[in-house]
Symmetry: T
Subunit: 144 residues, 12 copies
Amino acid sequence: MRKILIIHGPNLNLLGQREPNIYGNVNLSEINDNLQAMAKTLGVEIKIVQSNHEGEIVETIHQAMNWADYLIINPAAYTHTSVAIRDAIAGVKIPTIEVHLSNIYSREDFRQKSFIAPVSVGSINGFGELSYYLALEAAAKMKQ
Amino acid sequence: MRKILIIHGPNLNLLGQREPNIYGNVNLSEINDNLQAMAKTLGVEIKIVQSNHEGEIVETIHQAMNWADYLIINPAAYTHTSVAIRDAIAGVKIPTIEVHLSNIYSREDFRQKSFIAPVSVGSINGFGELSYYLALEAAAKMKQ
Amino acid sequence: MRKILIIHGPNLNLLGQREPNIYGNVNLSEINDNLQAMAKTLGVEIKIVQSNHEGEIVETIHQAMNWADYLIINPAAYTHTSVAIRDAIAGVKIPTIEVHLSNIYSREDFRQKSFIAPVSVGSINGFGELSYYLALEAAAKMKQ
Amino acid sequence: MRKILIIHGPNLNLLGQREPNIYGNVNLSEINDNLQAMAKTLGVEIKIVQSNHEGEIVETIHQAMNWADYLIINPAAYTHTSVAIRDAIAGVKIPTIEVHLSNIYSREDFRQKSFIAPVSVGSINGFGELSYYLALEAAAKMKQ
Amino acid sequence: MRKILIIHGPNLNLLGQREPNIYGNVNLSEINDNLQAMAKTLGVEIKIVQSNHEGEIVETIHQAMNWADYLIINPAAYTHTSVAIRDAIAGVKIPTIEVHLSNIYSREDFRQKSFIAPVSVGSINGFGELSYYLALEAAAKMKQ
Amino acid sequence: MRKILIIHGPNLNLLGQREPNIYGNVNLSEINDNLQAMAKTLGVEIKIVQSNHEGEIVETIHQAMNWADYLIINPAAYTHTSVAIRDAIAGVKIPTIEVHLSNIYSREDFRQKSFIAPVSVGSINGFGELSYYLALEAAAKMKQ
Amino acid sequence: MRKILIIHGPNLNLLGQREPNIYGNVNLSEINDNLQAMAKTLGVEIKIVQSNHEGEIVETIHQAMNWADYLIINPAAYTHTSVAIRDAIAGVKIPTIEVHLSNIYSREDFRQKSFIAPVSVGSINGFGELSYYLALEAAAKMKQ
Amino acid sequence: MRKILIIHGPNLNLLGQREPNIYGNVNLSEINDNLQAMAKTLGVEIKIVQSNHEGEIVETIHQAMNWADYLIINPAAYTHTSVAIRDAIAGVKIPTIEVHLSNIYSREDFRQKSFIAPVSVGSINGFGELSYYLALEAAAKMKQ
Amino acid sequence: MRKILIIHGPNLNLLGQREPNIYGNVNLSEINDNLQAMAKTLGVEIKIVQSNHEGEIVETIHQAMNWADYLIINPAAYTHTSVAIRDAIAGVKIPTIEVHLSNIYSREDFRQKSFIAPVSVGSINGFGELSYYLALEAAAKMKQ
Amino acid sequence: MRKILIIHGPNLNLLGQREPNIYGNVNLSEINDNLQAMAKTLGVEIKIVQSNHEGEIVETIHQAMNWADYLIINPAAYTHTSVAIRDAIAGVKIPTIEVHLSNIYSREDFRQKSFIAPVSVGSINGFGELSYYLALEAAAKMKQ
Amino acid sequence: MRKILIIHGPNLNLLGQREPNIYGNVNLSEINDNLQAMAKTLGVEIKIVQSNHEGEIVETIHQAMNWADYLIINPAAYTHTSVAIRDAIAGVKIPTIEVHLSNIYSREDFRQKSFIAPVSVGSINGFGELSYYLALEAAAKMKQ
Amino acid sequence: MRKILIIHGPNLNLLGQREPNIYGNVNLSEINDNLQAMAKTLGVEIKIVQSNHEGEIVETIHQAMNWADYLIINPAAYTHTSVAIRDAIAGVKIPTIEVHLSNIYSREDFRQKSFIAPVSVGSINGFGELSYYLALEAAAKMKQ
């Protein structure tokens, strides 16, 4: 049974309240419920963590080393500024999928650079909450 | 019944022969067969086109104006060089999903700029053939 | 009698349907009719071509070598990406006027670089369909 | 009867004496006479001002606020350096046409950036004195 | 009664000990006392927080969502590196004033880029402790 | 009694008429009246000058050398283009406060570079007319 | 018997007519005749193609996959703009020699970047028609 | 007896498990033991801290203000992104040595910029665990 | 008898009062007296103008067209910002020498770009008042 | 009888020992012998020099002024750093061919700028020792 | 017995006389004596060379090929400009340590790029003469 | 009696033969004779050195440390590439004048950066041989 860790980065706890024209109206616990339901259907085990702290995300990734087969991360703001999270992912060598609710590549210039992309298997951007569900499906179905 | 046009850009006809360490071993007709099968399951209608010609892709997009509800495109090399395809997508106003077999954001610098991203709903990169299947699912399930 | 070739670049066949807030509501055949009418008044002979293919535009320019005294071109998206069209214009040595419906210098950054400008006599940008009529007048009235 | 203010920027009083290979041999009063004659034909009223002073041009634009329906400006050297003239145009909200005798986009790099273009309706570059006459025609014929 | 949250960013707890030629000799508790006294005079209610942790500042801003009418923040070093704090401010939609003791625009190049400025109402830089008092006055007096 | 010179740069005479969504509806003479009233309250003497001419502003600063203890300047467009005003401020060595009605650091890229900031004590940006009043208070209260 | 495909890119059909100060007076069929004659002497078999169409060049390269041992290409304008041709060469894995009549590294800046160079064995630039003959010799004599 | 604080930055707790081709096989507690042993030999007192949190590192540096004569820091990922740590070092004015296991100047571009270098006495890069031992020796032997 | 116009740019009227560590203690009228005395010795006629206004300097250059054989200019701040003065010099075609009291190439980055240098015969920088005297000697002795 | 000087730049004496994956296994004296043999066949006279000293190469080029009709140079590392060698070639006006064993345009960024290319007739890159033999043939056969 | 070559680059013969605030007061022969003494203690054999000539340093590195197990180099000014020395080090494949007396990464921008770093094992910067002693220790103790 | 060392950099021995349109027809020994004659008149002692070797120029500067009161250098090509000569000048602390025959600031981009300018008192560019004579006069007359 494949084990998948899902990390929601900074400010995602605001989901549903924050800039709905960009991020939609759904809140994070609804997404998490949907992910849990999907996990059952797909036959995978998932853990979900949200943190606003770069260091905490780094350590969550470290702790996944002995448990997770796959990592799904929405690094949010840290996408563009955190070498520490990048190094953590590269260090634990767990295959990783980068997820964004919005299409970061059509927003401000500084959002078009991802420190996470080069250490990820792939990325899914712009589909709102569906980004997560597609990522979970990918994590469940990828061959390695 | 949602109608979806899928466009494979330049060099994708080589799939299965070309740089397998980057693009995998599956060939394009196998992918197309899988997409057709998925379309039936999802209850959508799809058309699939491959072209190595920028102008032809532009005109394929124009012709989709009266048929397609959604566009899935792997612009391949034209991702990074074609303003004409970008303008075509912006012109026909069909919601568009950008797909890449490889994670373009972890390759050469010039591949990290997409002219297509800013006129797309979202993008799926790096999952090999699975990128296409996730995109089809997204095109079928997106609310608008 | 001065002979003038007018080339409409990619996506201009969509005129009237595409992004009217940027390009206006008139369609291309109306513009062409107006140009033909103007040509009679000005006492010049014109040919009009539209193409979405970079290579076809290159060859249209080649073929003009033995006919046209002046070239009016709206290179549209190829303005920003085509060295081939630039080299064709430089090669045939027909004096050339660059035309744009919108003011490209007030749009996205990538639209502010024209490969065509340095091989053109001059340019007319931003007046909608009037850009073409002013260009035709210029082509008819320029001393050389 | 449409009222149009025409502003000649710095060094244009030298016209006919200065770098004829770039700017031609006609002098400024001849151009002004031609513009006045054209204005009659077109049924518009024009005022013409030349100034070498950035501040004076700013104030000329301010004063046009209660008179002019259209502004034609050849900002010359100030094209590339004057935010003050740009802000004046944006402030008075008179539709503005940018004119250049030479094709600025085929000259030195620093001449390829215009502070004026983004606050103009459109621009006409490279046709020598004809640039002005085309601009006047445009100002007379534009719908708004 | 207007409610205002004041956040002191990283290293500001060192105030009075650290680089007095840049930041002056006053310490943070003296500033806080002065701010409390001013608040009474101005008839506003304030809360003051100091944190060296990016994630903590993000969460402090989240918690302000149900209390504060205005936010005053000296993001210090995070001014130049934190997209997370920027996103938090944009997310909670509380009008925000950026404060700096020193004039960041006259220091090292990297200090001349602020991630916070584009999501702020305005900024006050370079007046030492007076920067805070002016900001509090602004927060109290701004119409909205 | 501290003496303070206040300089309004180019286009500020348009205030109240110009781009109210950016600059507000108040006009310059109302601001000046408010500044005079405040000056009395604060026990300082002020002079106010508005000019659209770079050279005039330079000379106004020179003349302040024998009178003013403090300089408040809203350099407006010249913020981004005038080395001459910068050199004048550096030359007369009068402590200077830079003021902007709008938050220049959240506008176009070219407005994010200030030639004046590095020779100023500090700056106040984005509070509309309140920017001036805060600056006057700062000029009155700064220790040196 | 080594098989070599020679591709002439866009505008090379104009050879002998176009900018002789840069490209010389010989025309393309004369060069082709010389190449055929040399091929006999060198004991190699050659095919020669000229195209102005990026997509056609891409497909010509694809078709070479089952025939050619070596590829000689003068990508002309596409040197600087075509990722599609680059990907085609990388995809078919035929060793490739890049040829230019002129010394592209002494011309305009934009001609000094080659998308083709990084996927080529080597390049020969600036010797006019001799560039082709040296390339053919190289293709015939290279060990692998 | 000189007192030296040694700080290990983010992800260094993974040492021995993480990317051994870059960082070697030794783990952090072995390095710490060796450092303690060396400290005795050198006659200095050391404290060692590891943290993945930027804010915690900032505060560790603050607390060192009353104890440490020297600071040795391997800022790891924060080298390239943390102005806060830089400001903390500059604030406490303890002479600081920057240490890296790998030669950061031969890795990715973004690793070649150090925010810490300009506020450090010196740096030692690329010698694996030996980097630390050399740094300790330097901290013990430096004259001031 | 060779006629030479000498122009002192903005802020040079402050000489002797302004930043003496950079510009020295001599004032402008002393320099002018020395230049007049030198002119007699060298057998040349000189006129000297100082202006803080870009437009005035432009017009001073225009008026020199019928009188001056040589132009010596210290453009001061306008060195780095004035295309108008550059165009005036290029327009009147009077051979021009650029003079600076300080060595502009060892000061701030923005002072290291001169719009005037490319239209000047040569430049003399960094010798204080001696810069002017050397320039006068050069203007008197240059063959053409 | 055409006289050709061949210069091998720095580190080329190591050939055969150094980075064989990039430069091949042949050593320099073998190449020189082959060049001498070829020279006989081609009916040209050659001299060959190797130097690791920039100044020596400069002087070797000076001395060629009275002897050589053609210059073949592999500037190796000096390609990217020596303006002095460029100026020497431009000074002696001997037509020059630039040679590289490896394809410099597919290596590190800094190797993709050649100071020598703009003063050369043409260049041959990437064919290993064959680069030299093709260059000799070119030098022998070029018309001028 | 490990053999180590130590190279002092240009201007280091001035040590003790030159910019003592940056480089300290010790002279080079004192450093060399200390290195010889240390070598004995460490049980290694060293040779020391100083040269101001890029070509001589290149050749010194070549000659080390048959003798040295390790190379310590302070490339001084050549750090930032010499591709030739870089290529020499890469060519001889002797493991190399880069040494700097000052912390080059806290000095002028151009000193923050090292051509040598990417071909070195590691670097030691900023410790004055101690930099050399630490480097010798490293060279003696490194495992390979 | 002031002692002045004059250094001619690389390729200046070619003077009179090399690119006369840029450098004029006079040769170096004529210039040197004129300098010697001027030295007598000015009552100064001069030594003149020409070298094409960067290292030799560095050492010539070192040796000047005990003799020269002033240094005049035309670094020619090394102006733009030599940090070693810059460091030598900074090291010996002899006041230095930079001389160029041509106006380097109106030539290619790479010639517009001088490593020497920031360590020089001043520079004289563009007056041909007169540049040297003015420099000698400056060196004789400067107060310190």
